[in-house]
């Protein structure tokens, strides 16, 4: 089973590297979906099947599908890929990459010298997660619901299509 963990981790890292280096937005999104599926496999292996199912259904299956729809709607075409070729030079990512490598070495050192904990073999079932959500963290669930309401209203308001009509004496926004 540890082999499954390491293989899924390798796939996640490789596909994430492909996400941040692609020039075409749709290709990058597809690699991101692969990365999320690999992370879902990791969740399943370490004993969190509910989180694995949520990752596939909500993250890869709703949020990224929304992304793909919006990208298709924008209808970018090969001009966008050519533009990315101009913007995304090695000079752009050399600096952040060097700093990130230093940070990564720091994190690896801190984790290497700490005590060797092991992820246990037991599964945390959806029943325990649901019970904990609705008794201990009920207030946070209600706050998350309010956040989602704010997201809905904000997305509706920001996504409206209004055309500016100029009359002789006044400008007004007409709903299309």
């Amino acid at each position: 089973m540890t082999f499954v963990f390491y293989l899924a981790a390798l796939i996640a890292v490789i596909s994430t590297v492909m996400v941040i280096t692609r020039l075409n937005a749709v290709h990058a999104l597809l690699y991101l979906i692969v990365s999320l599926l690999a992370v879902a496999v990791v969740f399943f292996v370490i004993g969190a099947p509910f989180a694995a199912a949520l990752e596939v259904i909500v993250y890869a299956g709703a949020i990224l599908v929304l992304f793909v729809f919006v990208i298709m709607m924008l209808n970018l075409g090969p001009a966008s890929t050519a533009q990315e070729n101009v913007w995304y030079t090695p000079r752009a990512w050399a600096g952040p990459a060097v700093l990130s490598v230093i940070l990564a070495l720091e994190v690896f050192y801190v984790l290497a010298v700490s005590a060797g904990e092991r992820i246990r073999e037991e599964v945390v079932s959806p029943k325990e997660v649901g019970y904990s959500l609705y008794t201990d963290y009920l207030l946070a669930v209600e706050l998350a619901a309010m956040l989602l309401l704010a997201g809905i209203v904000g997305a509706y308001h920001l996504g409206r299509f209004r055309r500016l009509i100029r009359h002789r004496f006044l400008e007004q926004n007409v709903e299309l």
Partner: protein, 102 residues
């Protein structure tokens, strides 16, 4: 499930987070910026799940659910803003909208 060291899980989470951060710092296209933020959020969720599995407590998955809800709200508002930006400026450059009107 095996005996995977917790450190390896956290190392995976930190690698993914740093990859997302490099993507966020080096891109100009807004869509790629939003994608990199999603990578970072997923990596943080992975760290929470690893911690929850180490103690065999449901709090890790609970926190992951909240991160998921927050990411969903953020992505919907962010994509609506991207659509408006594309309508107004006909480009996806993050540097175009740099002046307040007036």
């Amino acid at each position: 499930m095996g005996n995977v060291p917790m450190e390896h899980g956290l190392i995976l989470a930190s690698i993914l987070f740093l990859l997302g951060m490099v993507g966020l710092l080096s891109r100009r296209n807004i869509v790629f910026l939003l994608m990199s933020v999603e990578i970072m959020l997923n990596a943080a969720g992975l760290a929470f799940i690893v911690a929850g599995s180490r103690w065999v407590q449901p709090e890790g998955q609970v926190m992951f659910i909240f991160i998921l809800a927050m990411a969903a709200a953020e992505v919907s508002v962010g994509l609506a803003l991207i659509i408006q930006l594309h309508r107004k400026f006909k480009t996806l450059d993050a540097d175009t909208a740099d002046n307040l009107r007036g």
